[in-house]
Point group: C2
Chain length 214, copies 2
């Protein structure tokens, strides 16, 4: 799969590296400086390269949107027309201080994004685990006991693409339903962040859903 | 510990039964009919009995609040003065149809409750798993691989009481911080409900937080 990374910060950089190592063709774009982008691509190996947001988006089978919420308009205007594209968003609708959601309860960041690019096929995923856990999960390899990763979206085909990427990253994809469920997954992401960064045990935190029958 | 149950429906009935079987002294109160209450107490064994909400609350070391959000004022007025009491709430602030939270984002049900009874010591717990999983977890017994259960509250002593009850029910208590974190745990509860009732695999769903280090 060709995966374009819009926003090559902590999440985008690590996920892009993992997708490249898992055999996908990755284009990193939109970081604070070009040097960082080139270093990312070098470290990620032969399947990774650097491009503009437009290149990252236009040739991609899946676009990972991993920018700070405040950069959304800017990155989308640089990416160009994304009609029909699968957009996997892990961007939480945070305020500038990263202390609070600016959209919640009666909407979600993912739904706002879908309104902003109604012809794209939006899936919310990868936003419910901290970037610190990603390499630990990916390098683990064993399939038994994999952590879960919830995703939600309204387009079945796009959901399938997201599930494939989730699986490539070493997680067990859990379909949480339509995109409006992001109203629950986004606050859940903040619960995970609270436990990861304020709790004891370190930030390498993931979660697993399990059934316990009598 | 003496545990008063305010609201002996699905959650309150099952948790009270589990607390009684685990050796706590339980008073069931506030169900739709007295017959149901007496049946609950009979099934729960020698540590359980039936009482009025006032009896359940006044003699308790911990009060489990497990009523529908719409019954909050009614049950609190029947319970009497709860100053100084540990109130463990699993009541989510749902609308009458149980389809949506009526409080979220800038507040939470737990915080609204604390405002309503400012002299009580409120902890939010047991609201993030469906009632269907409770007996499966309790009867499991093995300590390894226990599911997590998040709780949050502003009173350290009350948090300790809640953690003890969580442990008695077979879960691994996870302290998520101050009561305002209920703004994240309550939407998380709706995510769990979505996966339990709309997902594949049945409603006996719990979750576990785990670290994955490199």
């Amino acid at each position: 799969m060709r995966v374009g990374i819009l926003g090559s910060g902590l999440m985008g950089g690590k996920l892009g590296t993992i997708f490249a190592r898992a055999g996908h063709e990755v284009v990193f774009s939109y970081a604070r400086n070009m040097e960082k982008l080139h270093e990312l691509a070098r470290n990620a190996g032969k399947n990774a390269r650097v491009g503009t947001p437009r290149e990252a988006a236009q040739e991609a089978d899946a676009v990972l949107l991993a920018v700070h919420w405040s950069r959304l308009d800017d990155v989308l205007s640089q990416a160009g027309d994304v009609s029909g594209k699968v957009i996997v968003t892990c961007s939480l609708p945070m305020n500038e201080d990263n202390t609070e959601l600016v959209v919640a309860h009666t909407s979600s960041g993912a739904e706002q994004l879908e309104k902003r690019i109604p012809k794209a096929r939006v899936v919310a995923a990868f936003n419910t685990v901290p970037s610190e856990v990603l390499f630990g999960v990916y390098e683990r390899k064993r399939k038994a006991g994999r952590p879960s990763l919830v995703y939600c979206g309204d387009d079945e085909g796009a959901n399938g693409v997201a599930a494939e990427l989730i699986e490539a990253a070493g997680f067990d994809p859990v379909n949480a339903g339509p995109l409006r469920i992001a109203r629950y997954t986004e606050p859940f992401a903040l619960l995970v962040a609270q436990l990861a960064y304020e709790g004891a045990g370190g930030p390498e935190l993931a979660y697993r859903f399990e059934r316990f029958k009598k």
